[in-house]
């Protein structure tokens, strides 16, 4: 097990910057998830850590030792690939043994380790099979087995579940997390699926465009996103992001009113840096909005109702903009119905229109209820 420290890491392919200054401290035994849209540089970062690509500038340390120049084999990390990358001409047993034999581990001990891992992963009956004779889920397990049998300093996962169907993915997600809780080996897990990120991570790194947008525990990222990108990326259904304006409130001196169109959404504390134009993006989670058929509240019209089984996603139109409400109540609204929505001012997050940065109230630190 090891702590991994990434400092100012940049990666360029020719003149194209793929990673633009990544800083990240992975604690010993921590499960970190890198999440972001496809092409944002997640795999590249993982490959830099594994030693499969050269670092352009910056520094990566494992257990306080700079590993920039080390060959992959000297880093003692294990990686699980999206394609599993099982050696097709070797049996499952040989696949598991390959890394061990390269390290000159004695035969009896090798057999013992392979036995132990295959029992843990339910591979005992499959040891003499070739990878092509295995199902997707079994291949995935062998790939996991190959990684853990060596007891490496850390695990690197590159979208290991994205080749599985939804049901199997959910199960393997659970199994990987269980395995991690048992082994407590430092893990860096790459995915583009924010549900995977939320459910598995100790801490999430949200990446976009070669930059780490925010690092933190899942709930913190969900409740207290640092910018528009994180707010929009984390959460499904996604946060409502509305074009709004701030109007100086005549009533309370420290407050401003958030307006969408001509409708007043809520009165909130004045942000510490007030945008000159008064234009902001107002974000609110679909499940934090309440509604009713009464008259007091923000008037809105139902556009479409989607049933997800667990609940309903109601698309509504208010102040000329489309937004979503998520509820687990069995609602009877239909397209064209009129309703009134209510928003708790504390649930309303404001973002700068140009920079996308979060606009926080003067008095409030980072904390959110």
């Amino acid at each position: 097990m090891a702590a991994i420290s990434i400092k100012g890491v940049c990666k360029k392919y020719g003149t194209v910057s793929v990673l633009r200054g990544i800083d990240l401290e992975v604690r010993d035994g921590e499960f970190i998830v890198l999440v972001g849209p496809s092409g944002c540089g997640k795999s590249t970062l993982l490959r830099l850590i594994a030693g499969l690509e050269e670092i352009t500038t910056g520094e990566i340390r494992v257990d306080n030792r700079v590993i920039n120049e080390l060959a992959p084999k000297e880093r003692d990390l294990a990686m699980v690939f999206q394609s599993y990358a099982l050696y097709p001409h070797m049996t499952v047993r040989e696949n598991l043994r390959f890394g061990l034999s390269l390290r000159g581990i004695p035969r009896e001990r090798m057999e013992m380790l392979v036995q132990g891992v295959s029992e843990k992963l339910g591979l005992t009956g499959l040891l003499e099979r070739k990878p092509r004779q295995l199902s997707g889920g079994q291949r995935q397990r062998v790939a996991m087995g190959r990684a853990i049998v060596r007891e490496p300093k850390a695990f690197l996962f590159d979208e290991p579940l994205s080749n599985l169907d939804a049901r199997l993915r959910e199960q393997m997600r659970y199994e990987i997390r269980r395995l991690y809780l048992e082994l407590r080996t430092t893990s860096i897990y790459v995915t583009h699926d924010q549900v995977e990120a939320m459910t598995m991570a100790d801490r999430i790194v949200v990446m976009n465009d070669g930059i780490a947008q925010q690092v933190g525990p899942p709930q913190e990222l969900y409740d207290d996103p640092a910018n528009l990108f994180v707010a929009g990326f984390i959460g499904a259904p996604a946060m409502n992001l509305l074009e709004a304006t701030l109007r100086e409130d005549s009533g309370a001196p420290g407050d401003v009113t958030v307006m969408i169109g001509s409708e007043a959404l809520a009165a909130v504390q004045r942000p510490s840096s007030m945008p000159v134009t008064g234009r902001v993006i107002a974000g609110i989670r679909p499940e934090r909005m309440s509604f009713g058929a009464d008259a007091n509240g923000i008037p809105a019209e139902v556009d479409l109702v989607e049933a997800t089984g667990i609940g309903m996603i109601m698309h509504i139109k208010a102040g000329g903009q489309l937004l979503k409400i998520y509820t687990t109540d069995r609602i009877k609204f239909r397209s064209g119905d009129r309703l009134a929505m209510h928003i708790d001012p504390l649930d309303l997050l404001l973002f700068d229109v140009d920079s996308g940065k979060r606009l926080r109230p003067l008095s409030q630190g980072a904390a959110h209820p």
Binding site: A50, G51, P72, M79, A85, Y87, G99, R103, R150
Partner: protein, 279 residues
């Protein structure tokens, strides 16, 4: 019913065409064997018969006993064997580099390799002779091996590169993370997976070197260093052609190639269809 008939007709036509092609391709070989066992006195009188009224192995016996053919044959085995092994080794190394690394000048090197494949070899017989003769590499099997290797490496390299391209990079990267050096990953993972390609390349170069005539004739004038295609010409004298012995020698020359392909054919079929399916 009508549909059924159509399908039947299609297959009949299919096999008829295939049979036609096979006959067309194999008939010269058949004729080769036939003439080689036809006694000299029947050669002209029964020239057009499909099978002579009686047969003899006399041509084979005299080729083996009374001509230098066994020597030519040995020379050919040495030259083709050495050429195929050397070329395949070089092509494997070069093909792997082209497939896996990007480096300065790669485009140029690939371009130059292509250019060597673009003009007829006759054009460079004289310069090559002038180059090799001061080095004592004419009338030498080594000289032939060098020339053949040089000519076969470009195509063999492209061939090998395509086989390496078909092996996912993930595999060797996984091996390298597992603790292998790049060379170890190549040896333990990539080579076993490209064996069919290696066999195909080996076979291709072997056949090319085995049957090469132009350079063998031009560079090596002494019969000590002649290969069998040159030897075959020896059966053509000023006034006559000894067809029986020539054909017998030809049949003998076919044997090693046949044996070679029998040996590698299982890999070969895989090799030529590799990449068609995802492993």
């Amino acid at each position: 019913m009508k549909h059924c008939l159509k399908v039947r007709l299609y297959w009949i036509l299919h096999y008829a065409l295939l049979a036609l092609f096979v006959v067309f391709a194999l008939f010269p070989l058949y004729w080769l064997v036939k003439v080689s066992i036809t006694p000299n006195d029947l050669l002209y009188s029964e020239g057009v018969r499909l099978w002579p009224s009686h047969t003899t192995f006399a041509h084979y016996v005299s080729v083996l006993r009374h001509t230098a053919f066994p020597l030519f044959f040995r020379n050919s085995v040495i030259v083709a064997g050495a050429t195929s092994v050397t070329s395949t080794l070089i092509a494997t190394a070069a093909g792997y580099c082209f497939s896996r690394f990007s480096f300065t000048g790669k485009f140029l090197i690939v371009g130059v390799l292509m250019v060597t494949q673009m003009f007829p070899l006759v054009m460079i017989v004289a310069p090559i002779f002038r180059l090799l003769s001061p080095l004592g590499l004419t009338n030498s099997l080594t000289g032939l091996v060098i020339v053949y290797t040089a000519f076969n490496v470009p195509f063999a390299t492209f061939l090998m590169q395509s086989f390496f391209d078909a092996v996912p990079r993930d595999l060797e990267e996984a091996a390298m993370i597992d603790g292998a050096s790049r060379f170890r990953a190549f040896r333990s993972i990539i080579v076993p997976l490209t064996l069919p390609g290696l066999a195909a390349t080996l076979g291709f170069v072997f056949t090319a070197a085995w049957s090469e005539l132009l350079f063998a004739l031009m560079l090596n004038s002494s019969s000590d260093a002649s290969t069998f295609p040159v030897g075959l010409l020896a059966f053509v004298s000023k006034f006559s052609v000894d067809f029986g012995q020539m054909m017998a020698a030809g049949v003998l020359a076919l044997l090693p190639v046949c044996a070679f392909f029998l040996l590698i054919q299982r890999h070969l079929v895989q090799g030529l269809t590799a990449g068609a399916v995802k492993g």
